[in-house]
């Protein structure tokens, strides 16, 4: 395998937004429709729509995304070889294969660590809306400051309260009084030895105070957006999470994950897909358009996909009643912005979407590409507290775990 050479000037992107379709989304209902496979495979989605790129089709409910197909590329050759959520999460979130000696941090923690020197922002470098708690989305052996910060809250509520930062029920004066009181009664910081950990805790306290009371918290203020903008994203938690992601990127946050749950549709898949797909369509299309309008799309990588795909063949019998199971052999992602070309299709699956027949793309290939666009050498190392310098993306370049970066759609 010829690995793409990394050069320092390869950096195009400043931020990454990962729309994580938690549970595993169906490739055939979204970005790799197979209308010829018959009803056992398509279910009711028999009429995919042609996108703005001639000859490229997407699922029939993705009307807005179809119109924007020139802004993103579809990766139809994704495969991570696992049908289990836990291993799927690990592989997609770290780019590493499971079963090795070292458990790796997630992509977001890795980017935050490698770009630490370039990041000067009171907001944490890696934010998850609204929760990161898929297992393995962690800082692992890296410094705790690189772990994802979960916003909590409900973006679609009247007030989007962000855990530990924004609480609309507590006025600033009361919050300041409480912080002062805490500083007075908590003598621990004065009495313990000033180790590096204690110093770091002190710095983080100051940072948190600035975040809670300073201008930075406005990055989460989606209520200030006009109704027309909020409506375009969809008045639901996912849509408003995408809007929040846009605002965070505007405010210089390096990595944002929007965790979109509800794709694990073993049972009665189609009854739930209509809503999910409509929300996905509105949220992602608005995010792409707004970032483009703000001039930020070129410097923001958008990645959309889950831990695996879903079985192309529908399971009609009980207890599934028209469900789709886990499927890691072939699935689809879309990537946009940050240097990725739009309007392309990478990889191809067979007539039923069950097997990648051209250009397999592994999790390591995806993250190697994103790291490169972020100015990080995917063949570089990271410091492990016990083992010293170790490869940051060990699967990249290994036979059976990698098939090369997405050079087809990279500058």
């Amino acid at each position: 395998m010829l690995l793409m050479l990394w050069t320092a000037d390869a950096q195009k992107a400043r931020s990454v937004v990962y729309i994580y379709l938690d549970g595993g989304s169906s490739q055939t209902d979204t970005f790799d429709p197979k209308p010829e496979a018959g009803n056992s495979y398509t279910g009711k989605y028999t009429r995919p729509i042609e996108t703005s790129v001639p000859g490229v089709y997407v699922g029939q409910r993705l009307v807005k995304l179809a119109a924007l197909a020139d802004r993103y590329s579809i990766v139809r050759g994704m495969c991570d070889g696992t049908n289990a959520h836990e291993t799927g999460h690990y592989r997609m979130l770290t780019g590493d294969m499971t079963g090795q000696d070292i458990v790796y941090p997630s992509y977001g923690a890795m980017i935050a660590c490698k770009k630490e020197k370039d990041y000067d922002n009171p907001i944490f470098p890696y934010i998850c809306i609204t929760e990161a708690s898929t297992r393995f989305n962690e800082a692992g052996f890296l410094n705790v400051m690189f772990k994802p910060y979960d916003t909590g809250g409900k973006p679609d509520d009247r007030h989007f309260d962000v855990s530990g930062i924004v609480n609309h029920e507590i006025p600033d004066e009361l919050l300041e009084d409480r912080l002062d009181l805490l500083a007075t009664v908590s003598s621990l910081g004065r009495r313990v030895e000033h180790t590096p950990q204690v110093k770091l805790a002190g710095q983080l306290r100051v940072k948190s105070r600035d975040l809670m009371l300073g201008e930075a918290r406005k990055a989460f203020d989606i209520a200030s957006e006009p109704d027309s903008v909020r409506n375009a994203y969809g008045r639901n938690n996912f849509g408003q999470s995408c809007l929040a992601a846009r605002k965070l990127v505007e405010n210089g946050v390096m990595v944002v994950m929007v965790r979109f749950r509800g794709w694990d549709t073993h049972k009665e898949h189609f009854k739930r897909m209509d809503n999910r797909l409509d929300e996905l369509d509105a949220g992602v299309s608005s995010l792409i358009l707004d970032l483009e309008k703000e001039g930020l799309l070129d410097s923001t990588v958008i990645v959309v996909g889950g831990e695996f795909g879903r079985t192309p063949k529908i399971e009609f019998g009980p207890p599934w009643n028209g469900g789709r199971g886990h499927y890691g052999a072939a699935f689809s992602y879309i990537v946009a912005g940050g240097g990725f070309k739009g309007g392309c299709v990478v990889g191809k699956t067979d007539a039923r979407g069950e097997k990648v027949i051209e250009r397999e793309v592994y999790p390591a290939d995806l993250w190697a590409s994103v790291y490169t666009l972020m100015g990080i050498d995917p063949l570089g190392t990271v410091t492990h507290p016990v083992l010293g310098e170790i490869p940051m993306l060990p699967s990249y370049g290994k036979q059976g775990q990698s098939n090369g970066m997405l050079k087809e759609i990279m500058p």
Binding site: K267, E268, G317, P319, N321
Partner: protein
Amino acid sequence: MRTLKNIAVAAVFLLVCSLQAGAQKGNIGFIYPAGAQRGTSVEVVVGGQGIMKATGVMISGEGVSVQLLPQPAAAKKGKRKKKKDIGEEDNLQLADQVRAVFTISEDAPIGMRDVRLILPGGVTNRLYFEIGQLPDVVENGKAAVSASSATLPVTFNGQIMRSDVDRFRFTARKGQNLVLQVKARVMVPYIADAVPGWFQPVIRLYDPQGREVACNDDYTFHVDPVLFYNVPESGEYDVEINDALYRGREDFVYRIDVGELPFITSISPIGGYAGRKTKVTLHGYNLRSNRLTLKPSKPGRIAVSAVGRDGIVSNSVWFQADDCNADEVFENRFEYPLQTFWYEFGVAETGLYHFSVLARRLGAPTDARLTIYDQNDRVIKDERDTEDGEDYMATHFADPEVTVKLKRGTYRVRVVEEQAGYGEAYSFRLSMGRAQPDFSLSIEPSIVNVPAGGTGVFNVLLVRKQKFKGDVEVGIQGLPDGYMVNGGNFAKGKKTLVSVTAPADAKPCVLNPVVTGRAENDDGEIVRRAVPVESMMQAFYYTHLMPMEEFRMEVVPEQPLKVSVVSVDDNVIKVHLERKPGFNSPVTVMLKSSVSQVKAEAVVVPEGECDAVLEVYRKLPKDPKKAAKVKRTTVSMYVYGVVKGSSKKIKGKGRNAYSASVTACAPVFEMEI
């Protein structure tokens, strides 16, 4: 032909008359209550999907009669929620409910029975119903606690719905040694769409002051909890049950036996020899005697239970009867943590030898590890857990087994307890000796439809034991004259296909043929009877083959479609469809083989047409080196045609009306590929 003498069939004539090839088969998910005391009548709800047209109920064993009740008017209108109201947590597969009255005679044998619903077109899958010994109390709907205090002994029955916590009150006397035994996973062993893939009950006991005094979520390695409690003061006690994760749904059914019940926790020794007397010590609660003498008549695993006060029979534990002429057998018990047992084994002649630890499979909690060392203290084999496909309830195979070729010499064998467990229950039996290659067979599915003039196909699965390498010849006995059998060659594989073709004039009936496997080994001929099995899925992923009481071949009326193979030439199969006049639907013609890598793309035969060609290919490994090593083998296969049913409304029929699907098979044949 085996008759149905052991099967009490309600409305058999209805079944025979209503069998229609291709009609929809239903599925059942729960029976509630999940059991009843003998000498009583109980109204039960059987829940599932596609069962509303049930015409009867089948229950195995003797002493139970069943009457299907007419559906209440409300249920007829449609119990299911409207489509738009169906959320993520709904379980359509449990939404249909039929009611029946089970009348159990005083002398009905206690224990688990197989229950199936009879539907037009066949019978459903099997679920269990327990014939119990104790008076029953059934959960009082949504009440926080049972309305009145029950008198012991008693069996509490309930169903755990989401976030549900059920509580039952009973009166206990000071000094009573109570046993509270939950039966939940044993009633519905595996659930396909839940993680964990079963109801995981937790029980708590509360004293008259409302204080929690005991709690249990697992009994040794069993999911179903058991509590033992010596009552310190007389009064009203509560037992509470919920799922460990506070999940709940209709198939989370349970029974809790409560009282001064006899309960065996372990026996010692756990095995002996066939034909010889063994004095066995029983450990447990409320046993009238703790001594027992066993003299098993033949080798194998036998169930041991004891009778307590009032004639109540205890739970069962296993006792292993070994052949006194075979193998060296040692029985020991781990008395303290990390105890190690060493054995010496002399090999006089080079050959295959078998080492086996039997403990967990007999009900002991022991998790043994077996290591074999040669004269130079080098490890020859180190085995922790060996999968036993016949232990269908196990999800952790804790007993190690090794079959290994050894040269002449002296070897040392070590057995340790992997989890540092010890105590009176931690026994194990180690057998060491010449390997005795053997096999077992199972048939899947356990119910096969054979249309008159048409063909039914089933899988026969082979488990090779102790490196058995011989050929196994499958035979089928008990078919009437005129029936034709094809297939049954395993070649080198673990699975083969067998087809049975009925004569054109076959009348609808139920047959119970016996399938056997015959093979030769060094000691002569081995004949093993195949066990019918039905697969159950656990937690979206794992599949378990559950043994059934009978292999059932349902002869159904002639179908409007027949499929035959005209020729097989160079991986090309020419297929002909014989349609009844007026049956012109498009037919999807497919191939199924005994080897998953051997396939053919499906071909759709257009409306009214009758011929198809399938091209067979073998999917090779991606790695060219591995692909080059794939040898040509004989594979059994069959061709079948499917006309799908329609779920659309049919004019003039109810909203649940379906047009029937038709699946027609051709006889099994073999191809070298």
